[in-house]
């Protein structure tokens, strides 16, 4: 279900219909419903009319809160649903696609991987540590709610310009928050992204990914079954934190954003870790019929979802809900977003056993309601019925919009003659020491990358890789990708490229890409040009996923990422999972040895040609111009399958894809990862385009430099219809790119490792 996330709620005024804390009195359920109150709940007049038509009377105050929680953008996907339906979500490997807490994909041997990515953008900007921490907590809960033990996490982070006064504060807080929660919970963080762009000055992005491992015969769903069965509340107590978060504090940002700080929840990773162990122990007993974590709109959303999916009504008695504050009203309890809570339908005969497990872990366990056969969502509080609503309609009848959109205009192609020549070596040193391409070690050393003892590749390579515990050879690869500047220039090509790059990064380790989760971050969908970005990006993503048999099994949409009318660049983050059948045949980016041949697969004749929207053009020449590099999906697949084959047969000794910064940056990264240098031939055409062009679908690989073996490789490539050229040799302690000055690996490292710590030190 959607997590406690404020990214998509409708616009609203800043007033909160909750009395000041010192009064601490129960808000009567008879608060009159005024136009202001309706607007403050993010409901448009026509949406309110829809409520009146549906229930045939004026809603109570609590009911209004329930509707606002269920019908906001975040929970209802009302602007995006129409387009999300066009995405491919099935395949022989898919056990569960979108619509559950997380996607489930078969990995053979009776095991499956359960994963999802979700944003916590708005809260992280307001309160970076807790915003990011609870983002991690929410996504972990989504995974273990389904019966999976989390085995890997990633996070994709976008911040404003490095010199913006808020950026360092946000970076420090978000990274510490992710580490603080994930490290304590005990999941290795094995991948992610960090980027800077002035367009994120007013809205940072925090997209958290988690994956878990489960048995295919023990997956748990949220669909309730059986009438008259106990509904049980599990985990932490309910407080006033985050009341109405999904609706009340979700919108574009304005000057009043600091007032929203109290709406960010506070995470407790210790309780979450106990909740994980208790839930997995409980699931083993066979006591669980249905289970749902409490994320956005807490009790409301979880109860409605469980009932509606199972065609059952739910009755809740709020007097039984464990609370940590006195005098909480029904409204507050129904909309609280206190963390680390779950709701479950229990087999009644297992109650004692179940309760004992939760007591052992020091967690709350309370029967708070029951399933009914009348399809009503009934809420009782202090002897009064405070809500009585049709449960199916709360979810199914949410408004859905076909928002107007305009297709963005593609920029003119870059005229190569307009790009002046530069010193290749100097440009490379500058790029690998730049904000976007420098080492992220400062970030990921604050994350526990090794816990669980299964990490085979940690951040810094193409993808994170984790062994499948209990299996002698299998491993899972994880990568998260998107290039917002491509999406900004052409959302359709950018959407395609995000999927293709993710697929490529998984392939570069030797994995079979299995499926993805998407986290679609955009501005205000009520603006046709933003909606146009969204629509075109989805079209590109859908096309790439279909062509690469890489279905989308879960995801999240984050809209309204705008401050004072300035939107973020379109940022559809794609996080993918791949399966490595035998990790002893896995590729890494580090050069394996000296004296090996360096090969370039999938490249055009000049090695590289496309400088439009490249990092080189932006960071060396200060220009954002041209079309982004197009992705030829057939070429992508052909080249990737070929490279994967070379990895599996042991012929490729190191592999790295070419992405931001092109061939030169890929070579530099391979050299730095190994400490081994390389001598690269003079490229056949324009050296700047060859070394810094960002043509898609290319891999650098190394192989034994034995003439016969190489000849066989070239023949194999020709047969596969893949271009393969030898461009140089590994060796020495310097990287020499054609006629450019040789750069020592030590100099590369100094530039690469230096930027982030220096930036954070200020």
């Amino acid at each position: 279900m959607p997590q406690a996330n404020r990214d998509n709620g409708a616009k609203h005024a800043t007033s909160r219909p909750i009395p000041p804390k010192q009064q601490q009195m129960t808000i009567p359920n008879t608060v009159p419903i005024t136009d202001e109150l309706i607007a403050a709940h993010g409901l448009k007049p026509d949406e309110y009319q829809r409520i009146l038509d549906l229930i045939g009377r004026e809603p109570t105050f609590t009911e209004l809160g329930i509707f606002s929680a269920m019908w906001n953008e975040h929970c209802s996907y009302k602007s995006s649903k129409k387009w999300l339906r066009t995405l491919p979500t099935s395949g022989p490997q898919v056990i569960q696609g979108p619509g559950e807490n997380a996607g489930v994909v078969d990995i053979g041997d009776g095991q499956c991987v359960v994963f999802k990515m979700e944003s916590h953008n708005h809260p992280s900007y307001i309160e970076p540590y807790q915003g990011a921490a609870t983002g991690v907590g929410g996504i972990l809960r989504d995974v273990f709610t389904m019966g999976a033990r989390p085995i890997a996490a990633m996070n994709a982070l976008r911040f404003g310009a490095p010199d913006h006064p808020k950026t360092r504060h946000l970076v420090a807080g978000v990274v510490a928050g992710i580490g603080g929660y994930g490290n304590s919970f005990g999941v290795p963080t094995v991948g992610g992204e960090v980027n800077f762009d002035p367009r994120y000055n007013g809205n940072c992005l925090v997209n958290a990914f988690a994956a878990g491992l489960a048995r295919t015969d023990a997956i748990f769903y949220s669909k309730a079954e059986g009438v008259g069965l106990p509904v049980v509340y599990l985990g932490a107590k309910t407080g006033r934190d985050g009341v109405g978060g999904a609706t009340m504090a979700s919108a574009e940002f304005d000057e009043g954003i600091d007032e929203k700080r109290p709406t960010v929840q506070v995470g407790d990773p210790f309780t979450e870790k106990c909740l994980l162990e208790a839930c997995l122990e409980l699931m083993d007993t066979g006591a669980v019929i249905a289970i749902q974590d409490m994320g956005a709109a807490g009790l409301t959303c979880s109860a409605v979802e469980m009932g509606a999916k199972g065609n059952l009504g739910i009755e809740l008695d709020l007097d039984k809900v464990p609370v940590r504050e006195e005098g909480m009203s029904a409204y507050e309890m129904m909309l609280s977003e206190s963390q680390e809570r779950m709701l479950m339908v229990l087999r009644p005969e297992k109650r004692e056993e179940a309760e004992a497990i939760f007591r052992k872990w020091g967690l709350d366990f309370a029967v708070v309601g029951r399933t009914t056969d009348d399809l009503r969502f009934r809420v009782l509080h202090q002897g009064e019925e405070v809500a009585n609503l049709p449960i199916k309609e709360l979810g199914d009848q949410a408004p859905e919009y076909d928002r107007p959109w305009v297709a963005p205009k593609a920029p003119p192609a870059l005229d190569p003659a307009s790009v002046p020549q530069t010193d290749i070596a100097e440009a490379l040193v500058r790029l690998i020491g730049s904000p976007d391409l420098s080492s992220r070690r400062w970030v990921w050393e604050q994350y526990d990358t090794l816990i669980q003892g299964n990490s085979l590749q940690i951040p810094g390579g193409d993808a994170g890789v984790v062994r499948v515990e209990g299996h002698p050879t299998k491993a899972l690869a994880f990568s998260s990708d998107v290039t917002p500047r491509y999406c900004e220039a052409d959302p359709y090509e950018g959407g395609k490229q995000a999927v293709a790059e993710c697929w490529r990064n998984l392939t570069a380790t030797g994995a079979d890409p299995l499926a993805v989760t998407d986290n679609l971050n955009f501005g205000n969908p009520e603006r046709p040009e933003i909606m146009g970005q969204f629509v075109r990006a989805i079209e590109g993503i859908g096309e790439a996923c279909r062509a690469l048999s890489f279905p989308i099994v879960s995801g999240n949409v984050s809209l309204y990422n705008e401050t004072l009318g300035q939107a973020i660049p379109p940022t559809p983050t794609i996080a993918g999972v791949g399966l490595i059948p035998d990790w002893s045949r896995m590729a890494r980016t580090a050069f394996a040895a000296e004296g090996q041949a360096i090969l370039l697969a999938g490249a055009p004749e000049g090695w590289g040609t496309h400088l439009g929207q490249s990092v080189y053009l932006r960071d060396i020449h200060g220009r954002a111009a041209g079309t982004p590099p197009p992705v030829d999906l057939e070429h992508e697949k052909r080249t990737g399958d070929f490279v994967r084959g070379l990895i599996r047969s042991g012929k490729a000794t190191a592999v790295h894809d070419c992405s931001d910064g092109g061939l030169a940056v890929a070579l530099a990264e391979m050299a730095m990862a190994s400490g081994i240098g390389a001598i690269i031939d003079e490229p056949p055409a324009d050296p700047a385009a060859a070394f810094f062009g960002e043509d898609q679908g290319r891999y650098v690989l190394t192989a034994q430099s034995d003439d016969e073996a190489l000849q066989a490789l070239f023949e194999e490539a020709e047969k596969a219809g893949v271009s393969l050229v030898c461009i140089g040799m590994t060796g020495g302690r310097e990287l020499k790119l054609g006629g450019a000055r040789a750069i020592s690996v030590a100099e590369l490292e100094e530039a690469h490792e230096g930027w982030f710590p220096a930036f954070m030190q200020g």
Binding site: A176, S184, G186, F270, K273, Q446, D448, G453, L456
Partner: protein, 222 residues
């Protein structure tokens, strides 16, 4: 070798430790829950790493006061080998079974990376499979690993050879005094260390430098 792993809520490297003990000794360790008041008869008791009780209050402070820790102290007094790793080290300090304290890292940040360790005393039950002065690799992952002791205590543990592991070659990740990474008690049967030898015991971990620590204990028990 018979071993037992103490389990407290919030510990999270217990599974790593159980896996390491199982793989190296061929036998899974017994597990002991926080409320137990008696420990089984074993050759080695391990308190693994993590964030017991969330590290709320102070790392290891709540854990040190749980019933099971009284039982651990009794076994330690009888000479049974006890090892605390990371949070386990913090707990042993809080329980008074080892001298000194662990403060927040000098960087004030959590740090997870490989460091170099020097085996400062290879003549203990835990280190006899290493050679004296040997430099090994080992991962660390902690927020509070900055070892500190008052000058007298420091002089005493240094003088008695109680410092067993030191961060080497400039890789001290946390500001520990004298580069101290691991110490034993006076009797030499209780070891506390911040690094995680259990995460470096097989090729998949990128090395096996942690293995001899377990093998040292095993050779005694055999």
């Amino acid at each position: 070798m018979k071993s037992a792993v103490i389990q407290l809520p919030g510990l999270n490297r217990d599974r790593d430790m159980i896996a390491a003990l199982t793989k190296i000794s061929g036998k899974p360790p017994l597990t002991v829950w926080q409320t137990e008041t008696e420990l089984p008869d074993v050759d080695l008791i391990v308190i693994p790493g993590g964030f017991s009780y969330g590290d709320y209050l102070r790392c290891g402070a709540i854990a040190a006061r749980m019933p099971v820790m009284r039982a651990v102290a009794e076994k330690a007094a009888q000479g049974v080998l006890v090892m605390g790793v990371c949070n386990g080290f913090q707990i042993l300090l809080e329980a008074g079974l080892l001298p000194g304290a662990l403060m927040r890292n000098a960087s004030l940040k959590f740090v997870c990376r490989h460091v170099k360790l020097q085996v400062a005393n290879a003549n203990t039950a835990f280190t006899r499979a290493y050679s004296p002065g040997q430099i090994i690799r080992c991962p660390v992952a902690h927020h509070d690993g900055n070892y500190f002791a008052d000058p007298e205590t420091l002089a005493r543990i240094e003088g008695e050879g109680q410092v067993v592991f030191r961060y080497a070659e400039g890789t001290n990740p946390n500001g520990s005094v004298n580069d101290i990474a691991g110490i034993v008690n006076e009797a030499g049967n209780v070891l506390g260390l911040m690094p995680h030898p259990e995460n470096l015991i097989e090729d998949a971990h990128g090395g096996t430098d942690g293995r001899p620590l377990f093998e040292s204990v095993m050779s005694l028990a055999a």
